[in-house]
Symmetry: C2
């Protein structure tokens, strides 16, 4: 279902008194903080721009060229709304337009004219209009006597109130987010562009060269880039796809540098990193290491094997399931790497040690201890309580997220309940402002819907639910087996699932939209078995929601204080964790030493692409590229210092998921690359940034230009770009 950004938390503390020490390369800084970064030492490294040329609240800074996709980043590269991002960001859009006859995914796609551009179904682009610190407005709604649940609800209400007022009468989408676990609140105002079109994508064997094998790996050799274009109504309003629409006028756009990078060069990056947890407590990390990740990994593997089995049987099903498998796989490797990284970097042990030292520091400062001494014991208790419902929560959430039919049913039923409330009082994601997106989702999902596979996945989760420990059983499911003997359970389960999928009407877009329009009474009269099941399940989802809110409410009380305690102890400038908002980061082009006796160079080459070529996916170099390589027709894209055409490069930039497609810029703000991955050692950097080992993997913009120019001869697109 539509994911809305969870908006939470409170309690203020001021960072201003902290001494400003440079955390070289680590740090995802808010744009309004750029001017306070160590500009002089950045200039010594190679920065040429003044802070206001990077970001200017009045507009015109290069940050204005950077845009947000659902969970990724892109950048304008022409005044006509042309965006560059990663191939893997455009992947689902390309896949949705691909058929066995027009295999754009496999062959690549190029629209020579604007008329040939194809809709990127389900894609939206968010352009930042403004953002502001609204901490005082949020905090004014809270008081010290509130319970955790009251606190949670108060933040939720004031959030909705602020957003409602900000969006009212304007063609904008607003998001309110907390920083530092809830000490600061920012309101972001976006212009949401709904008409996005595909302009150019390279063949899969270039864009995703190396596939799953190379994912998260260095050395890397992927041409992971794509171009899309944004459109608006002739009057400038944001509207859905229409022939009458005109390209969005992107006043600020990035110039491309053809002069390239070399080791040691200063590079900066702007993007929308999704989530980091750099200030997490040991209790939370224990939960992740010993529950969340192991369970997530096992579940992903099992669901992937169900989807792969279905794909093997039918090639049209395979196309439909491909981006789903891709998504599951991407996080599978990430989460495995995370667990390994936790172990290698001994993050849990390190946190426990750090908290011990913090306690000692507080004990030596009775005044501070009075303020902060209670936090760690409270967090300990809080996570112990959480354990009592974590298994049930895991199954209910995965089941609803990963089974399309159950997701439809649960969302539609929940809407019928929420609709009865005042807009202001509803759950986030179920307000009038969410109606359009929900409808779009109910429609767009149809392209990749495979009922027979969905049924298998649903059956899998039901079986898992039966194995839940006592005290965490799911009533809606247990009810199915009421009175039955244990040995008959499999048969009953099979019949139950068959019945649901046979009799439901949710497989049709029309019926889904119809049901979405109904009120609770009308919906119940439909007597759709999936809606009936969702109704049963909603009782328990609501109970879990409440527990989670209490838990979150308590965290918003405790986490900001924990961060504050660390700040008191370390006397250090801290940056807020990533939360999907725009951030600035700077670093250097740099290789690393992954293990004893092994060095990784900062850059890969075209010869390296050929070296890996097996002529079989995922290492199947297209003929056109092989030909240009054998002719050595490299033109100006040949880099003397490496003796070849550059392909990917490493930098010390601090990135995470959500940064995919982020522009990597030289000191002059010119585009030199696109971030598309982190190295394997960087996966655990979401929790602990190790400057020796953490690296961003970027496509060299010279490889992009080489492919467009020498290999695929995409002259029109090249002409539109501004290459310096």
């Amino acid at each position: 279902m539509i994911k809305t950004m969870v908006v939470t938390f409170l309690t203020v503390f001021l960072l201003a008194f902290l001494s400003l020490t440079s955390l070289a390369n680590e740090g995802m800084w808010l744009l309004d903080f750029i001017s306070q970064l160590p500009i002089d030492s950045m200039k010594a490294l190679g920065l040429r721009l003044n802070p206001e040329e990077s970001y200017n609240p009045k507009g015109g800074g290069i940050a204005d060229a950077v845009v947000k996709f659902g969970g990724a980043t892109g950048a304008f590269v022409s005044p006509e709304g042309l965006i560059i991002t990663n191939h893997h960001v455009a992947y689902t859009a390309v896949q949705r337009q691909s058929t066995p006859e027009h295999n754009y995914l496999g062959d690549g796609f190029y629209a020579q004219t604007k008329e040939q551009e194809l809709p990127a179904i389900g894609y939206n682009v968010y352009v930042i209009k403004s953002f502001e610190d609204v901490t005082q407005r949020v905090l004014s709604a809270l008081n010290e006597r509130m319970s955790d649940l009251e606190r949670y609800k108060a933040v939720e209400n004031i959030t909705k109130e602020i957003i409602r007022k900000a969006e009212k009468g304007k063609d904008v989408k607003c998001k309110l987010v907390s920083m530092y676990g809830g000490s600061q609140y920012y309101l972001f105002t976006y212009f949401k562009i709904r008409d996005v079109r595909l302009v150019y994508v390279p063949p899969l064997s270039v864009g995703e060269y190396g596939g799953e094998i190379d994912n998260w790996m260095w050395p890397r050799h992927a041409g992971d880039f794509a171009f899309l274009r944004t459109y608006v109504a002739p009057d400038g309003k944001s509207v859905n796809y229409s022939k009458e629409n005109v390209p969005y006028n992107s006043k600020v756009y990035l110039k491309l540098s053809s002069s390239g990078i070399k080791e040691g060069d200063f590079v900066m990056l702007i993007g929308f990193p999704g989530t980091t947890k750099r200030y997490e407590s040991s209790f939370s990390i224990d939960k992740m290491v010993n529950h969340d990740y192991p369970k997530d990994i096992r579940t992903r593997q099992e669901v992937i094997s169900i989807l792969k089995e279905a794909s093997a049987e039918d090639s049209s099903v395979a196309i439909k399931l491909s981006s789903r498998i891709k998504g599951l796989n991407n996080y599978l490797k990430k989460n495995q790497g995370m667990l390994e990284g936790f172990k290698r970097a001994q993050i849990l042990q390190g946190k426990i040690e750090e908290e011990k030292l913090l306690k000692e520091f507080l004990n030596e400062n009775p005044k501070l201890n009075k303020n902060y001494g209670h936090i760690l014991p409270e967090l300990d208790n809080l996570f112990k309580e959480y354990k009592k419902f974590q298994d049930k929560k895991f199954i209910v959430e995965w089941m609803t997220d990963r089974c399309d039919f159950l997701d439809f049913a649960s969302t539609i039923y929940k809407w019928s309940l929420e609709k009865k409330k005042k807009d202001q009082d509803r759950e986030p994601g179920y307000q009038d402002r969410d109606t359009l997106e929900t409808k779009e989702w109910l429609e767009d999902t149809q392209v990749n819907l495979v009922p027979s596979t969905d049924k298998k996945v649903f059956g899998y989760f039901l079986t898992k639910a039966l194995q839940l420990p006592f005290g965490q059983k799911i009533g809606a499911i247990e009810k199915v087996f009421e009175g039955a003997e244990k040995k008959d359970r499999n048969k009953i389960l099979e019949e139950f699932v068959n019945d649901l999928y046979e009799k439901t009407e949710l497989g049709s877009v029309e019926e889904r939209l119809k049901m979405f329009g109904m009120n609770e009474g009308e919906l119940e009269k439909q007597n759709d078995p999936f809606i009936n099941f969702a109704k049963q399940l909603e009782v328990e989802r609501e109970e879990l929601r409440k527990k989670k809110k209490e838990f979150s409410g308590a965290l918003t009380r405790l986490e900001p204080k924990l961060i504050q305690a660390y700040a008191e102890w370390k006397k250090k400038r801290l940056y807020p964790d990533a939360n999907g908002t725009i951030r600035f980061n700077y670093g250097q082009v740099k290789g690393y030493v992954p293990q004893d006796a092994v060095s990784f160079r900062y850059i890969t080459t075209l010869a390296g692409v050929m070296e890996k070529n097996t002529s079989q996916e995922p290492f199947d170099v297209p003929e056109e590229l092989e030909e240009v390589y054998s002719k050595k027709d490299f033109g100006s894209y040949f880099d003397e210092s490496i003796g070849d055409v550059p392909v990917n490069f490493l930098s010390t930039n601090d990135i995470t998921n959500g940064n995919s497609g982020s522009p990597v810029m030289n000191g002059k703000g010119e585009l030199v690359g696109l971030a598309f991955d982190g190295n394997y050692e960087s996966i655990s950097a979401d929790y602990l940034f190790d400057p020796e080992l953490t690296r961003a993997i970027n496509v060299d913009i010279r490889y992009v230009l080489f492919l467009l120019d020498k290999v695929y001869h995409v002259e029109g697109l090249l002409k539109e770009l501004s290459i310096h």
Copy 2:
């Protein structure tokens, strides 16, 4: 069964007229050629010795310190017969002395006094007494009118004749080997020491740190060394183990250098490389790439899985099968690497191309073409003929080699036939001189004999034999199913195998030795079912032997000529392929670039050992080592230039199987390391040496000394060594 060195081939050509060009690092040179190597440029690199200090036919050169094991190398390091070699060379000896109570393999072994030294069961050490060029004597037995089979037999006869004369009345073992495919013949005279004892081996987790995972890999962190001692009778004669024996007086022994190596240093190596095929024709390589290696790999995998299954069921069986699995695995990885290397280095395509160019060269030189033009077409035909029996040959040989009971039966039966002939006329390996070794083998094998597993392996090969193509069926096996329906075959097979293993007496050492002493008639009267089966099989083994001899005879005619043709074309000094005889090689300490953007440093460190530590096999660092590491008690073994204790290093030396344990020496002839492996990229170097990628992996002698001194406190042994 006992492997005797295949002694073959003829036809002379002289290399003297060729210009001498240095093939940097490539080349396994005969000792009598050292003085003709580019000594001046070697001295410029760091050589300090004069040629006669390396090898002096009159004795005293450092080469005299280098000794041969069955298929490996060692070196004397004290005047009292103390030998250093690899842990994996001593492995089987250690394993044969290990029990669940005394787990020397796991815990390591150290004899503080000579009395505590344990027999290395089945181990022999060969010390070179002399060698001489006997080409003229061999060639005098041949003439141009002989058929290929006649030629083969003539070489075999003269070989036996020469050996017989050379060994007569002397306490020596002789081997006659052909060089350059049969243009030159050398007679090697060895003093064979039969009483070999274990002195010191580190724990498995040091000696084989990294196990199968790291095998053939860099970066490497193994302490792959061991010490053994050689004993002779008080009068100096070679005898079996006896308490009265005294240490062998090794006049020449190597000094150890404690000053270490650094990148770029000159290093030289002397050892007994087993087999290279650097001058192979494309037809032969085609056979290997498309038949021999794929089939070998599959068979190894399947046999290993049978042995592993048996090991999983019983830990005492696991100990018995361990060195067998190790052997199969080692060549499995090697052969897989070989196939990959063939592909990566495009060796087949390269050879085809080279032969095309050779043909062109010959076509332009009618006189040479008359001599050499016929060779390639003849080789082509020869290998086509070979294909007609290669599958049958493969099964018969693997079956006899890998099933102990069948190996006993076939060997004993074959002896009963050969015994009837004059010594001179027998098959090699079945002469009087081989009696003792065969008896030793019949005895020593008992330690690791597991009849139940042997039966499974035998059954596996019988099933494979049934799948042979028509025209290559094995009569002895087909006979078992005579008249039976296809569907009954499995049952019949099972009964047949059960019967063999139930009724045979070959499981007892006593019975085996008794049968070994019998003549054919007596043996047949025994009516042992395994002997009966071996008798049936012998008919076909004999036929295959004959075909192989014809094939080999033809090769001895053609291959020397092919090498000569190459020499004519390339005007280049060529060295003979490795054939288990002693060779000299020089190179440099050097890292390499295995793939785009990755560099391998020349040396690994103790920190790297700890980095890999998982506390689980094969990465389970012993506590003693962890403790010394945590105390940083490195003493003089700490290398300032790398900031740590060195562990393993890379050099450009040209090595292959058989070089295991070879001393790596600095320019002064002091021991700086022990070769124990090649890198993965070097596996295909047996066919094509790539100076960019081929590297020897060596234990740094400083790691050996650090372990003896700081970790295991083996003072007595350290005192015996001569450390400079």
